[in-house]
Structures are given as structure tokens and as C-alpha cells.
């Protein structure tokens, strides 16, 4: 495999609705931003593109990625669409990586979007729930927040995780986003406010759950030759991994933990895994990405993480899948302050504040979740972090992780059915 670099990225502001721009125009905006950031690069160097959007129901335009391809002036170059639920953006990023790593393309564009404002929130929830088994799951009350609520109820039962620990994730990510002008829903919250917001599916409240959004993102990936010719600070994509699990949560096995390099079988003698409390596909994705990138211990080897926090609960569950702490310790991990940004006031006592920032951007909870763009948005923020250019792109450097060497991005589909982990490194 050939080394692959990210050389530029762009995103639109994520918003409840962008009625003034259709999906083509939104992608164009993100793409033009990315092109402007590498002046020595020209669009003629792009050998092909991979487009991502989740739902034909939201778009109601089949083959929408073809319309983006022609709008960007990239015809007749190779093009395809990638779809994998909430992980659509992460899968798109890895598909573009594959095109360059294989030597098929010297430079590949990854673009993604979603236009969720076209239906009301509850119809949108119904569309999303169609990504659950329509024979056995959807008719019972198809609602993803309900599915994740059941997963965290079991996590609470197994490990003693609390709703206050989950609320701390919400406080963190919404407060981080106060310094991110691209974010949809930045705000200062307290644990009490999170708990007192309307109950959606016990124990998850409105402030435990991300919103629906319109938005787009674009990433340009290139070979070593192209990257160092056109970009002052390319970022290497040093590891990719992905995993999967059964669509129906009811079918998840109760077996043995899939171990990471720094873990031992004796760490988990009594745990039935993954059950419905953990995401086996996320563990698989991390294991494969760590192996490729040579990561032995993620807590020591990573500078920051952008992970798929569609729910506060799934951020806690994902700390464990990624091996930042042992299974069951996710709640205490957030309580310790480890995943908070250093130097930001959250109004909380955080003994280990900022040891490994998670979702410095504000994550899905605060940035929003235009599904096909989300995984690429994470890549763009990680790219800027590793370039040290957060200040330039966000207009302030509050969220710049100092001396960021290596970042992890994590994209996740419906209750953990597809999950991707990619590792990016400063060079």
C-alpha cells in the first residue's frame, strides 16, 4: 500500500436548514474552501471522487452524488457513492483512502452532505429508524433514540454508569462548540439543565441527543508525491480500520471481549460481550486501525479524538471500545475530566482535565449531524488540529490542541452496525 495524505478540507456551517442552498451548492461551498486552502493545487489533479449521503428518503433524488460530480465540474472522472448509515462519512473517507493507497488514483476527493430539513423532525426520526430491521424492529416503535436508550440502560445495569456522567459529556461538547463557528448548537449547560430538559427515551433527554442538520464537507486525499508538492503541511493517514455488528440488537452475542494490545483476558473475566451495552464493531475498527498505525496504547499515543457522539451515552461506550479505559470505566473516565479540553471553563470539578481531549469541535451533539457529511467533518477538524491551523479556520485558537501529533476519528452507524476508525498524523 502507498502512503496516503490529507492535503485539504472544507465544511459548510451545519444548520437546521439551508433553504438557500441545495446539496450541490453546499458541497461546492465546502469543496471551494478546500481548494482555496491549497493554492498550488489545481482541480485537474483530482483523479476521481467518492460521494457520501445517507438517505435517499431525505434527498428524494436518487444518484444525487452524480449531480454533485457534474456541479463540481469533475465529469467524466471516476465517481461513486458510498452509503453506510451514520458511518457513511467515515466509510467515504476510507474509500477515498483506498483509491490512493492502492495506487489507482494519485488524488481523490471525498465529499458528503445531508439535507435533513426537508421533512419534520419526527418524520426524520422515522426515516432513520428504517435503518433497523423492518420485519422485527421498526414496527415495534422504530426510534433510534429508544434503541440507544436500551443500550445504555444495560450499560448502567452492568457497570453503574450514571445519567450525571452522561450529562457531563453534553456539558463538555456543547461548551467546546462555543468556540467553533461551524457548530449548529453551541451553548453553556449544567448537568442539572441536561437532566431537566425534556425526556426523550429514558434515560436520554433532549440534551443527550444530537440534532438533525443540513450541511456538507469535503476532504482531498493524495499520494506522497502530490501531497508534498502542493501542500505545506500535509497530514498522513497512518491507519484505517472498520467493523460491523448484527443489525438487530436482539441478535448481539454474549461472548468474549475482543482485546486490544494493552489489555489482557484477565481484565474481563465476568463480562459477557458485547451484549447490547458495547459496540463490538467499534472495538474491531480500533484494533485494525491501531495495528496499521502501530498504536500500542491509545491513551499514550493519541493527542485528541473526534468520535461519533450522536448520544452522550454512545460517547461513553466508545471510550471503552477505543480502549481509552477498560469496559465499564467510561462513566468514571468522563468524571475524571480526561476527555475535556484544557483551559476551558466548564463549571465542573475535573481533576485530570484535558489529558486526552475528545470531541474538541463539539462533536455531533453540538456541531450537528448531517449524516453523510459528519464523518468527513471529523476528518476536516482533525486535519486542522494536526496542521495547527484551528485558529486560522475557526477565527480563534481556543480549540487548538497544543502539539497535536496524532488524532483519531470515529464514525458510527445505527447501534454499531458499521463503525470506522481512522488515524491521522502530523508529519
Amino acid at each position: 500500500m502507498k502512503p496516503v495524505y490529507m492535503i485539504s478540507g472544507g465544511i459548510t456551517k451545519f444548520a437546521k436548514a439551508h433553504p438557500d442552498k441545495d446539496f450541490r451548492m453546499m458541497v461546492k461551498e465546502a469543496y471551494d474552501y478546500a481548494l482555496r486552502d491549497v493554492p498550488r493545487f489545481s482541480k485537474d489533479m483530482i483523479a476521481g471522487a467518492v460521494g457520501s449521503y445517507f438517505s435517499d428518503h431525505f434527498t428524494r433524488q436518487l444518484k444525487a452524488a452524480s449531480m454533485v460530480q457534474d456541479y463540481l465540474g469533475l465529469c467524466p472522472k471516476p465517481s461513486k457513492r458510498v452509503e453506510g448509515g451514520g458511518a457513511t462519512g467515515g466509510l467515504c473517507f476510507q474509500s477515498a483512502w483506498e483509491a490512493v493507497a492502492s495506487g489507482r488514483m494519485n488524488c481523490c476527493l471525498a465529499f458528503g452532505f445531508e439535507t435533513m430539513s426537508r421533512v419534520n423532525t419526527w418524520k426524520g426520526n422515522e426515516f432513520i429508524a428504517l435503518a433497523s430491521d423492518t420485519n422485527f424492529d421498526f414496527p415495534v416503535g422504530g426510534f433510534y433514540s429508544g434503541y440507544y436508550a436500551m443500550m445504555v440502560q444495560r450499560h448502567m445495569y452492568e457497570f453503574g454508569t450514571t445519567v450525571e456522567q452522561m450529562a457531563m459529556v453534553s456539558v463538555k461538547n456543547h461548551a467546546n462548540a462555543l468556540s467553533n463557528p461551524y457548530a449548529q448548537k453551541a451553548k453553556r449547560l449544567t448537568v442539572k439543565q441536561v437532566r431537566e430538559s425534556p425526556m426523550v427515551a429514558t434515560p436520554l433527554t433532549m440534551e443527550d441527543i444530537c440534532t438533525m442538520s443540513d450541511g456538507a464537507a469535503a476532504c482531498i486525499l493524495a499520494s506522497e508525491d502530490v501531497a508534498f508538492k502542493v501542500c505545506d503541511r500535509p497530514v498522513k493517514i497512518s491507519g484505517v480500520g472498520s467493523g460491523s455488528d448484527a443489525m438487530r440488537m436482539a441478535d448481539r452475542p454474549h461472548g468474549q471481549v475482543l482485546l486490544l494490545p494493552h489489555e489482557r483476558e484477565s481484565d474481563y473475566t465476568a463480562l459477557k460481550y458485547p451484549g447490547v451495552h458495547s459496540f463490538r464493531g467499534g472495538r474491531m475498527a480500533a484494533k485494525l486501525a491501531y495495528e496499521m498505525a502501530g498504536i500500542r496504547n491509545p491513551m499514550e499515543d493519541l493527542s485528541f479524538i473526534e468520535l461519533h457522539d450522536a448520544y452522550t451515552s454512545s460517547e461513553i461506550q466508545t471510550y471503552e471500545d477505543l480502549g481509552l479505559c477498560k469496559y465499564g470505566d467510561g462513566g468514571r473516565f468522563v468524571e475524571s475530566g480526561t476527555p475535556f479540553m484544557p483551559g476551558v471553563d466548564y463549571g465542573l470539578e475535573l481533576p485530570k482535565q484535558g489529558r486526552l481531549p475528545v470531541n474538541p469541535s463539539g462533536g455531533l451533539l453540538a456541531c450537528g449531524h448531517p449524516v453523510g457529511a459528519t464523518g468527513l467533518m471529523q476528518a476536516v477538524f482533525a486535519f486542522w488540529q494536526l496542521q495547527g491551523t484551528m485558529g486560522k479556520h475557526l477565527g480563534n485558537d481556543t480549540l487548538q490542541v497544543r502539539d497535536a501529533k496524532r488524532g483519531l476519528i470515529h464514525s458510527h452507524a445505527g447501534t454499531g452496525t458499521y463503525i470506522t476508525v481512522s488515524i491521522l498524523e502530523a508529519v
Binding site: F136, P139, A201, R252
Partner: protein
């Protein structure tokens, strides 16, 4: 210029076959909860499938006990548009003795606040089947 926004209606009836899962739905009309068991490795599915997820061999139909326990639960105060009018409703994953996997259903006859992991529950069946998985639900045993 302000963007011009119109409403565009869309509606369709699908012809949906339960195909190899059909015996489960017919079972509900007879007051039976049908699971399946692998003919090679014996892995037992409380939500049936025609082939084993572990080893790939065919499974055989198997009548599950009507009594089980709550494995996990939630009460939904919002939902997808199709289910909004039914809120609040409680969802449970049910575990059964002798089955390796779980079954998703509604729990009725108890307040959401009173539900606990491990609560014994029993299957109930509608007298007027709609040939959907909601023809069965659970209540405290």
C-alpha cells in the same frame, strides 16, 4: 431572491413478503412465539433467522416459552412520526431460558418508572392480528 419552497407529497404501498420469516408471523396468530435453533451448532435465536449467524447452517423452527425476563428497557416519550400518537410506550429486549439471543417488544400493563432489568414478563397476543410483530407484546408475569 428568497428561495421558493413548495410541498411535494409522496406516498406508496409496498408489496412486502416475510419470505422465510413467514412462520413466525403465522405463529403469532396461533398464540405461539417461534424462535429458531441451528441444526449444526445448536445456537438458539429468540428472534428467528433461517440460517445460523454463528456457523451458517440452516436452523429449525422452535417454540419459545411465553415467559421471559426484561434484559433492558426504555420508555419513549417521543418517536418516529408513525408512532408519535402511541407515546409514551415502553420498549424491552426480552431474554428467555434456553435462547442465546433476545427479542424486541413492547411492555404494557406497568408504568415505565417501575420497569427493572430482570423483571419477569409474559407474552400476550392480539385477537385481531395485523400480521405484524406488534401482534405480540409483553406484560409483567
Amino acid at each position: 431572491m428568497e428561495p421558493l419552497i413548495i410541498t411535494d407529497h409522496y406516498e406508496i404501498d409496498y408489496r412486502h413478503s416475510y419470505a422465510q420469516d413467514s412462520p413466525f408471523f403465522v405463529g403469532l396468530t396461533e398464540g405461539k412465539l417461534m424462535g429458531s435453533r441451528c441444526t449444526a451448532c445448536g445456537y438458539t435465536f429468540a428472534t428467528p433467522r433461517a440460517h445460523c449467524m454463528q456457523c451458517g447452517a440452516p436452523t429449525a423452527w422452535l417454540e419459545l416459552p411465553l415467559n421471559g425476563r426484561v434484559h433492558t428497557f426504555t420508555t419513549c416519550h417521543y418517536g418516529g412520526e408513525a408512532f408519535l400518537k402511541e407515546t409514551p410506550f415502553t420498549l424491552v429486549l426480552v431474554e428467555f431460558d434456553g435462547a442465546n439471543t433476545l427479542f424486541l417488544s413492547r411492555l404494557k400493563g406497568i408504568s415505565g418508572d417501575a420497569v427493572r432489568v430482570g423483571l419477569p414478563v409474559r407474552a400476550h397476543f392480539t385477537k385481531t392480528p395485523s400480521m405484524k410483530v406488534t401482534d405480540v407484546w409483553f406484560e409483567p408475569a
